[in-house]
Symmetry: C2
Subunit: 329 residues, 2 copies
Amino acid sequence: MRVTIKEVAKLAGVSPSTVSRVLTDHPKISQATKDRVWKAMKKLDYHPNVTARKLATNATKTIGLLLPNDVKLLAENPFFIQVLTGVTTYAQSKGYYIMLTNAETREGEVEALNHLFRSNLIDGVIMTVVREEDPCIEFLRENNHPYAVIGRPNDTDSTLWVDNDNFQAMYEMVNYLIKEGNQKIAFIGGSKELTVTKNRRAGYEMALKNRGLHLDENMVKGVKFSEAGGYEATKDLLEENDVDAIATTDDLIAVGALKALKDLNKEGITVTGFNNTPIGNYQTPPLLTVEINAVELGHYSAKLLIDKLNNLESAMNSYIVDTKLIKES
Amino acid sequence: MRVTIKEVAKLAGVSPSTVSRVLTDHPKISQATKDRVWKAMKKLDYHPNVTARKLATNATKTIGLLLPNDVKLLAENPFFIQVLTGVTTYAQSKGYYIMLTNAETREGEVEALNHLFRSNLIDGVIMTVVREEDPCIEFLRENNHPYAVIGRPNDTDSTLWVDNDNFQAMYEMVNYLIKEGNQKIAFIGGSKELTVTKNRRAGYEMALKNRGLHLDENMVKGVKFSEAGGYEATKDLLEENDVDAIATTDDLIAVGALKALKDLNKEGITVTGFNNTPIGNYQTPPLLTVEINAVELGHYSAKLLIDKLNNLESAMNSYIVDTKLIKES
DNA sequence: GTGAAAGCGCTAACAG
DNA sequence: CTGTTAGCGCTTTCAC
């Protein structure tokens, strides 16, 4: 049988409730008894039963983490495992546990979240990906479940979120390209409706504008987040335009673009990526790219959520994580 | 207030214990009452409090997953997130939850595991990486905690494990190289003490032997699992040997080898990898490699562990997951 | 400052 | 087949 609070109490010569108070660091308990109780715990190698505590306090000290179900996406994109590492490390440092979940469909995800909350398994959840009109988000809002998202949400005031300054990052990147002597700079982003695409594109446009460069709609493409997307868009682009450089919003897209350029024998054109992935890094030469510090994104998303769970008044409701231009490997 | 078993009981006109029995699918309960209870649950939108159940049954229905702490390793190697996906998906399908953990040091890992077990948070754990003389494994054995490992352990009989048939995979690969007309085939593996290296090397040697090809110690290198390792080993190799092809035990090593060959202007030499990573796949041409089906490794490790937790007599204690030669992308 | 007692929501003998 | 009862191990009023 496991050692419980009772044995500790007996050995320390106090009541179980006193032991509990020591455990929860109750203010008015004499140092002397505290010491006695601690010693008894040590001696018996006592570990509190977290499950019992959960039941009594109705707080699980556990946060859920919803991962996408698409293995290919997860495998190609170090983003997720990095976020996960950041979340886990921070949460653990604050005495929180991490429960993982995923589901095959959008409805499955809602169901999974519902189950975790309704079954008293988690206190809050971190969403690693937000889509437009995400039913998960709707569900969380409607039921008043605490959550934090990675990526800028529609409603920036009433939800907890972390993100990079995507405008700034792309602005810097394009500026750099201009400084290096490029004039005709194209832009290949993800779907145009995505907030992240919009922000990065705005940075691109602002950089051109501030340097007095012409902005041409034909030089802007929106594609799927994939190598194939980058490949096709680049071919299209070069058919009708004269291009010095291509700024993309993802290393995968950039790699596709590089392939297209190779096929077209236009390898002189500079391509930039985003996310500083191994794939980009293993290009020769390594891709110009942007480090988004996904571990920190995870770290701060966990911080936001945990602060909220602890009702910290001073808590912020968002963080912007710095990016860094990666010029060489 | 949340709806509990009591309200359900009242509405269905039975006692709480009957509701509980319905919940646990107790054999001798009449279909009629079952139906009544189910209906009441539906109507009240009842969700059992898993925490309370855990406390009562002393089973958490949760399995721990220990991930390495090295973000770079995790990011470059889709292996981990794939395993994680396989584990999560299978576990969820069996009504188990997944709790994630990691730690900075080896001792930290032991401590984390100890905490999770002693605090009644997990029933068992899956180890995604096993090292020689791993203190975590020692701890788990000594304390009789259920666990499964990914990778072949020293003691194949008394521990639950899943692995690929590494001998077979490398045997096939080298055979393929021979069929393609290569005669002088080198081998670059990870550290020579690792079981995985030994197994793959044995496959390599057997393939050469069965085809009557000469086996030369100089053609075999053991390096760190990294691009740099592959790069250096390849340079060494080519200094003293005449080589047609190089079989490596990892895509990263292979990529390093390719770089070395490029620098040496020997791009005619074929290089093969292992693990079918995006990085390998994005080489031009894509690396010859081996798909190890990491998702399945995760799947079966979870199955082994969960079967054991449920005391399935018929349960096996290991699985071999098929590999597949990847000749083109 | 500390103890007694009730209760978190569920399960599991023990009866009948 | 179903109800009664006694916990699982901890927290938390309410007394003193």
